[in-house]
């Protein structure tokens, strides 16, 4: 050995804290298990680090522990248009998981459509946190070092798999009629998010978590395909893209 300094490629913490990530992981795992139980597919994306999305998918499809069930998980190829691909392939009841920094506009655009598409969204990342509500489940790391973050991403999705399989042993909590949310959109009288598929005069064909429907758009400015609307009693009451953050991909 020619040098006495320790190998430290990273600002690597000797004991990185898990903090709130533990309870975030717990909730995300139960949500994941519930979606799988109901027949959902997990879509994995990591435009910046495609090897991470491949790793997540293979964990679920071909578990390392013998006897664990193969679950449907698919990597979205990094060279595809993420929003266009998932808009077509992700169906109500599915899960979309991304490993991506908060400034990934394509991932942000997909995640904010989660409720309109009826999909669960899980966003794993590091660095500055995405804004509150950017995804249903935000699993964020405390480290700023890219290599330490990469190591911890592997832990996060391994734990997600391990905890989801624990949830499968709690069948009563996987039933669709057990409502775990504080405010359940389908149970309340709130407006529901919808994505515009086509505009026809004062009406728009939209996608919501319940499927396709036609809504009256006469009380808002004419929307464009891809816009997110808030729909109440068959009427679009607000265009959410009118208040979208500057620079956000629509």
């Amino acid at each position: 050995m020619t040098t006495t300094s320790p190998i430290s490629p990273l600002a690597r913490s000797a004991d990185p804290a898990i903090g709130d990530l533990a309870s975030d992981l717990a909730r995300a795992s139960l949500a994941l298990a519930r979606r799988f139980y109901a027949g959902g597919t997990l879509w994995c994306a990591s435009p910046t680090w495609p090897f991470h999305s491949h790793h997540v998918a293979v964990e679920f499809v071909h578990p390392v522990i013998m006897g664990k069930r193969a679950l449907p998980a698919v990597t979205v190829p990094p060279d595809e248009d993420l929003l266009a691909t998932l808009r077509t392939t992700a169906r109500t009841g599915d899960i979309i998981l991304a490993v991506a920094p908060a400034d990934d506009a394509a991932v942000a655009a997909v995640m904010r459509r989660g409720d309109a598409w009826g999909v669960e969204t899980v966003w794993i990342g590091t660095g500055p946190r995405p804004p509150a509500g950017a995804a249903k489940h935000v699993l964020w790391l405390g480290t700023d070092d890219p290599l330490e973050a990469s190591e911890q991403f592997v832990r996060v999705y391994h734990l997600l798999w391990e905890l989801a399989h624990v949830c499968f042993e709690h069948r009563g909590l996987l039933k669709p009629d057990v409502c775990l949310d504080d405010v359940c959109i389908t149970c309340s009288d709130e407006g529901r998010p919808a994505e515009v598929l086509a505009v026809l005069g004062d009406e728009a064909l939209v996608r919501t978590a319940e499927g396709r429907e036609s809504v009256d758009t006469s009380i808002i400015d004419p929307p464009s395909p891809g816009d997110l609307l808030l729909v109440h009693a068959g009427t679009a009451i607000r265009n959410l893209d009118d208040v979208a953050a500057p620079g956000e991909q629509r």
Binding site: P9, A22, H55, I65, E169, G172
Partner: protein, 220 residues
Amino acid sequence: MSPEATDFLYPFIENEETDAVSLLTDLAASAEGKWRQSTELRNATLAALDGDIRAAGTAMAERVLAGGQVFTMGNGGSATDAEAFARLCTRPPAGIPVAARSLVVDQAVLTALSNDVSFEVVFSRQLIAFARENDVVVGFSTSGNSDNLMMAYAEARKRRLLTVGMAGYDGGRMGASPDVAHCLTVRSDSVHRIQESQSAVAHALWDAMQTELRQKGAAA
């Protein structure tokens, strides 16, 4: 929901469970425990392998300075680790980019070799085609026993390449084989915890290579 969709569930004792709070509490505690185990294994592994990592990184840097490139390989999750290491070499967050390529990414080559010959030769046949003097092979396996890696290491040694491997458990065949000059073994019997530590070892290996590249580059 079709009845088949529930087939994968185990025989249940908690079918009527409706309160998620206690489960979520247990899951969070489990996550904390596993996180700590992963950190402890990583720290112990980096300490135990410190000298081996430096030796392997130094040897890699010598090959790279002599014009060699790095090939990486692995199966399943380890294939993604191989891809990650190749990308770290070519597109480092800091330091000197190094020519590297994963042998797992070309679907046409992988399926051609698997279909026409066998899956065992998918890496060794690529080395026959691509490898030149001074090249380096870095393989990832949790068992240390993958047939296609072992065939590639035998071929690599025959061609006098530098051979580096990441293994788990007790090192398996990689740990015992003279074909693997530098075997870095994460001593655990959990595949997930092994992969998590291998990720840290790979980064330390890259750093050791970078350190040597800087020193030798400055001296040159």
